[in-house]
Amino acid sequence: MFFTERQQIEQDVETLAAIYGRERSSMITILQEIQRKHHYVSEYAMQVIAHVLDIHPVEVYSVVSFYHFLSERPQGQFVILLSDCIAHNSEEKAAVARQLETELGIQFGKTTQDGKFTLDRTGCIGMCDQGPVLRVNGRMYTEVTADKVGTLIADCVADSATGVVCDIREPSK
């Protein structure tokens, strides 16, 4: 059966409300799921959520506009975020930033024309000891260097990327 985007949104919100409940406190989880599936929360989606939760659409908008990872505009399939953490070496970070722009052909804050990649900066993501750090759709890439950027993007396309996070290592003392 053919669904228009709007019908799809209506069906998704209805399904999610059935799982998580029609209370205000369910809204965040519903928004998270919509964002994950559609890569943004459209105005129409906000209206449908408001209707289902029986609140004014501006209430939904106020929440979507507040949080960094909920977006009102379509995001790329892969959202590449470079951590702006001050603890990281600024030259290394700048080199990674330049290489990202070159490989993707877009500037920070933009999405590629094919809708595949969004490139942006983000505040410290808690990887201060392992910089420079990228976060791609929830995966962390630590100790990134400019020469690794190309491979990393290619891995994303192949969807075989594995974020490497080394947390607990044996004490060196």
Partner: protein, 396 residues
């Protein structure tokens, strides 16, 4: 490539569920008394006495009570909670369960920052194992009629949600804007019910205190700041990583341990903390001196302090919730001032105006985020003024 280290942590040497076992043999009053005796203060940065918070929540008669674990860890420079959650999550959940026994709560929520969502699967599996072992769920620890379970709620990206009332606003489905206090969450928190909100590390120490006794914890650190504390050490040093130290440690001692000697400055407390110049490396990290959120960022000789100020202020302008004017407008104005300094077009008089604006922001903002937002700028302007003036504009 430098690699991150984790120093010997006490957490690695605590017997699993020894703390919960000892708590389940106590009355709620005895548990709270043990925590009070230990002198444990909140490890997230606010440093509020844990025992006092718990006894406030216990006193209130309510149909329902909540235990919330704050895993927001949004402070730039802080990553010790990440290390705890990936290596010692069971101690955190155990601490939450001990808190539940003490205040009579049946529901627990862990607020996990969006960036740490990659750990959610691991945390869920730890919770599942605890449910199987009857340490969570109905009639926990063999105690009839005592129920407690924990769910994980992943955040959506907002530094301000580390503030406990903003965190509760998020959980209720609102914008993360801090509430007026009082009432404190211990009296009226999530959905109006008494709610104990503590940082990840605090819950892990709760478990250790119950396992080893209040006297052990109290004997460490300083009289005003007893106990141990985890530090996130990053920046220009040989061995960045997570370290455990007794409170009261001198900045110089810490630098020696992490291989960060001969540096220009150390920011203690992350982006919201003070920049400490070399002349003050004799100061101690403890409740009575330097704030002890635990984020230590080290800046070497070649670092530009103006860039540090710019980075911190950009962060705060982007993270201000916008609710109160000093923080919303003030941080923007300070950032604009720092950009003037970078262009070399800031007079001494204007810099003094910026400093007094920073002091107003510190005094007049509603929550901790706003109050601490000018700290980095103010301390850099105080100690590195000679570096800030007379710059050549970057394109000229």
């Amino acid at each position: 490539m430098k690699s991150s280290v984790v120093s010997q942590l006490t957490f690695a040497r605590i017997d699993l569920d020894a703390g919960l076992k000892s708590a389940s043999a106590m009355t709620p009053e005895q548990i709270i008394d043990t925590i009070v005796q230990s002198g444990l203060r909140g490890r997230g940065g606010g440093a509020y006495p844990v025992g006092r918070k718990w006894s406030a929540a216990k006193e209130v008669h309510a149909q329902r009570k909540y235990i919330i674990c704050n895993a927001a860890e949004g402070e730039p420079g802080s990553f010790k909670d990440r290390a705890i959650l990936s290596g010692y999550a069971q101690l955190v959940f155990e601490g939450m369960t001990i808190a539940a026994l003490a205040v009579g709560a049946e529901r627990g929520i862990m607020y996990l920052r969006a960036e740490y969502a990659y750990m959610a699967g691991h945390l869920e599996s730890v919770l599942a194992a605890r449910r199987n072992a009857a340490l969570l769920g109905k009639n926990i620890c063999g105690l009839k009629g005592v129920h407690f379970d924990i769910r994980i709620q992943v955040g959506e990206g907002a530094y301000v949600c580390g503030q406990e009332t903003a965190l509760i606003e998020f959980l209720e489905g609102h914008r993360g804007e801090p509430r007026n206090r009082p009432p404190y969450p211990a009296v009226s928190g999530y959905r109006g019910f008494p709610t104990v909100v503590q940082n990840v590390e605090t819950f892990a120490w709760v478990t250790c205190v119950l396992a080893r006794g209040a006297a052990w914890f109290q004997s460490l650190g300083t009289p005003k700041s007893p106990g141990l504390k985890l530090f996130s050490v990053s920046g220009d040093c040989k061995r960045p990583g997570v370290y455990e130290f007794q409170l009261g440690l001198k900045v110089a001692e810490l630098l020696r341990m992490v291989g960060g000697e001969n540096v220009k400055g150390v920011q203690v407390g992350g982006a919201s903390g003070l920049m400490i110049p070399k002349s003050q490396f004799g100061r101690r990290i403890a409740f009575e001196d330097l704030p002890y959120g635990g984020a230590v960022i080290i800046f070497g000789k070649e670092r530009d302090m103006l860039e540090v100020a710019h980075n911190c202020l950009s962060f705060f302008t982007s993270e201000s919730c916008g609710q109160c004017t000093p923080c919303r407008e003030g941080t923007r104005k300070l950032l604009d001032g720092v950009e003037r300094l970078q262009r070399g077009s800031c007079t001494s008089a204007y810099l003094d105006t910026l400093i007094s604006l920073g002091e107003s922001i510190r005094a007049a903002s509603k929550c901790g985020l706003g109050q601490s937002s000018p700290q980095a700028f103010l301390s850099i302007a105080e100690h590195y003024r000679h570096e800030l003036m007379g710059r050549r504009s970057s394109n000229g």
